[in-house]
């Protein structure tokens, strides 16, 4: 009996297993490793950038329900200056996906996520449900590329910020962010 069909089948199976393993390595898990955070479907219609990842943290764990939306934006003109000021956070941090109407609460701060420098800023978000939400916009850059995140919730902005930044600093999120910035 010829052996080559067996060898070819084995190669296909091994390839599939190795692909699945690689995906597991890169993608943040939705299960217990994220604890109180659960991955949810990206809730926004397609725009100029590919969809990112969305996560929700329940009130029990985060004080009030908080959602975080995060994605890379590959190709950004401020290659040298990066996210230089708060106006840049206003422009790029995806707050407008939730509402065109938002107002900053205070000047932003310098941060680093996945070893990328940038800024974080808190906002009052005026949503279509006529309720006010707190939001936090995050933008960090590496060379000509951006990683942006926006978090929102009904609690105080400081709570939303603390929950979101703690989540984004988790090792699995950092690994995912680095992979996403490299197009993997």
């Amino acid at each position: 009996m010829p052996r080559w069909p067996l060898i070819a089948s084995a190669a296909v199976v091994l390839g599939a297993l190795s692909g699945a393993a690689a995906y597991q390595h890169v993608a943040p898990r939705q299960d217990e490793r994220n604890g109180e955070w659960q991955e949810i479907a990206w809730p926004f219609p397609r725009d100029g950038w590919p969809a990112g990842k969305a996560f929700r943290c329940g009130a029990a764990a985060c004080g009030s329900e908080v959602e975080v939306y995060v994605r890379p934006k590959i190709g950004f003109c401020n290659c040298d200056r990066g996210v230089a000021d708060d106006d840049e956070v206003d422009r790029v941090a995806d707050l407008d996906l939730m509402s065109e109407r938002f107002a900053p609460l205070a000047p932003g701060d310098v941060i680093r996520i996945a070893d990328m420098p940038g800024r974080v800023r808190a906002y009052d978000l005026n949503m279509s449900d006529a309720l006010r939400h707190s939001a936090v916009g995050v933008a960090v850059s590496r060379r000509c590329d951006l990683l942006v995140a926006v978090a929102h919730g009904r609690g105080e902005a400081s709570e939303v910020r603390r929950a979101a930044l703690t989540f984004l600093a988790r090792s699995e999120m950092t690994r995912w962010a680095m992979a996403a910035m490299e197009g993997r």
Binding site: G48, C77, D80, R81, D90, R91, R101, A103, E182
Partner: protein, 481 residues
């Protein structure tokens, strides 16, 4: 030969042939240019500086090309100018192209220090002093950007010895300006420090270039100082039809979220100037949004085009057309295709996209060649030789493409020219895992034409200037003999 061996041989042939095809598309030094109905007349290496806007000016009995440059590269931040022996930050190249087969490099005028988009002097426009209402009749004025920090006006009456006249400084960015030579009105793409966007419009009266008079700041509601909420897409560049056409066509976005904004020029210049949302809305006639996946780099107006197919129609024989060119940004097709769009704006409050054009990727395996593939800009000369007949599109690694646009509902490619690479051509890289994977390919960035019918293209990857002319059927389209 056994079945297994046959199969292995077949696979080997398939893979070898596949890689051979891919290699054949890679440009190599020494290979000839690729061309159809266009031929090379002359070249200049522009001191291996990255090219942006070329502007060709008929100056007395000479023809002078003024070429703006991006900043330097990581490898060579400030190339050496052989004329001075000094390393100079990229700025403006001034080249005598009176004999296009023998371009003579006259002068390099250094720009702002910095690399890529951050330095240099990308944009350049020229007006004769005798055309400007209050200009010195003996002067020729060059308006150029100085990196992101200033606009400058130089007297280039002696193009080898420019003299600085004035500066408009204190900006956070600049870009693709427009200057009306008959009125002196300039639409300067600037980053006013207090505006929430990197690029908006500052309108100046430069009819007396020595004494610039600010008219107003202009942008989209949400970009003005003190506003909150979403910040609209930044400006890329405007083109005005002057007092007679009374329209300014603004292109917003570069490769994403683009739109065309049609503005009443008279209301823009003479309306209330305080940058409130209402005052910013007042001169706007309409906007035409594009897909969020495309931007508007160039918005080139062609009002009153007769459409042959509509010639016997009682109404609508002539159409006002705007050609919109997107800018590709990412290397090796890592973004949605950026291309060329034609909009019918005859009914100004209901503009409509009517056609599009792109280079077929498979015609040159352009996604594999390296660097950017997609459109960047068009010629902007409105000289009769090509206006409303032909358009030339800079298409990065696909070179320049010549389009027959006499029927803008059905634009047709009639020629192209992809220059050969040289030892000066810079690499372009993409990340593969942790590593950079680099390729060398032509990156035709901008194109301009002159009244004689020559086509000038410049390369973003440092290959220099190529002066071209049409041949064969493409020449016939323009009515050239």
């Amino acid at each position: 030969m056994s079945g297994r061996l046959k199969l292995a041989a077949l696979f080997s042939i398939f893979f070898l042939a596949g890689s051979g095809i891919a290699c054949a598309q890679q440009q190599v030094i020494g290979a000839p240019p690729e061309a159809l109905n266009m031929k090379l007349v002359g070249t200049n290496d522009l001191q291996a500086r990255s090219g942006y806007q070329p502007t060709i000016h008929h100056q007395g009995d000479r023809w002078i090309a003024y070429i703006g440059h991006h900043g330097g590269s990581d490898d060579i931040p400030a190339p050496v100018n052989p004329q001075t022996g000094k390393a100079e930050p990229n700025g403006t190249s001034i080249v005598d192209v009176t004999d296009p087969s023998q371009p003579k490099y006259l002068r390099h005028l250094p720009g702002q220090e910095g690399k890529y988009e951050s330095g240099g002097a990308q944009m350049v426009r020229i007006c004769d002093g005798k055309a400007l209402p209050k200009g010195d009749r003996n002067a020729v004025y060059m308006l150029r950007t100085f990196g992101g920090e200033a606009h400058e006006i130089w007297n280039v009456a002696d193009p080898a010895n420019p003299v600085l006249i004035t500066r408009i400084a204190g900006l956070k960015d600049t870009h693709k300006n427009w200057w009306e030579c008959d009125t002196g009105i300039a639409f300067l793409v600037s980053g006013a420090p207090d505006w929430r966007t990197r690029r908006m419009t500052q309108i100046y009266d430069l009819s007396d270039p020595a004494h610039p008079q600010k008219i107003r700041d202009f942008g989209l509601p949400g970009q003005e100082p003190g506003s909150t909420g979403a910040v609209p897409t930044e400006l890329h560049g405007p083109i005005s039809t002057g007092p007679s056409g009374n329209r300014v066509y603004f292109g917003y976005g570069t490769n994403k979220g683009g739109f065309l904004q049609i503005v009443d020029r008279e209301k823009l210049l003479n309306g209330p100037k305080e940058p409130t949302p209402d005052n910013l809305r007042l001169p706007e006639i309409s906007r035409m949004p594009m897909s969020a996946m495309n931007g508007a780099h160039t918005t080139f107006p062609m009002p009153g085009m007769p459409i042959a197919e509509f010639a016997r129609d009682k109404d609508g024989k002539n159409r006002d057309i705007v050609m919109i060119v997107d800018e590709a940004i990412l290397n090796e097709c890592n973004e949605p295709r950026q291309m060329v769009w034609f909009a019918d704006v005859t009914v100004e409050n209901r503009p409509m996209m009517i056609s599009s054009y792109t280079v077929p990727e498979a015609s040159g395996s352009f996604c594999e060649r390296g660097g950017r593939f997609g459109s960047h800009s068009s010629n902007e000369s409105m000289a009769p030789v090509f206006y409303k007949k032909m358009a030339f599109i800079a298409f990065f690694n696909a070179g320049v493409r010549a389009l027959d646009i006499r029927d803008p509902y059905h634009p047709t490619e009639v020629g192209y020219f992809i220059p050969a690479i040289t030892a000066a051509t810079d690499k372009r890289c993409v990340k593969i895992g942790e590593q950079d994977r680099c390729k060398v390919a032509i990156q035709t960035n901008n194109v301009e034409t002159d009244e004689r019918g020559y086509v000038y293209i410049v390369d973003r990857a440092n290959t220099g200037l190529h002066i071209l002319e049409l041949t064969g059927p493409a020449r016939a389209v323009a009515g050239l003999r």
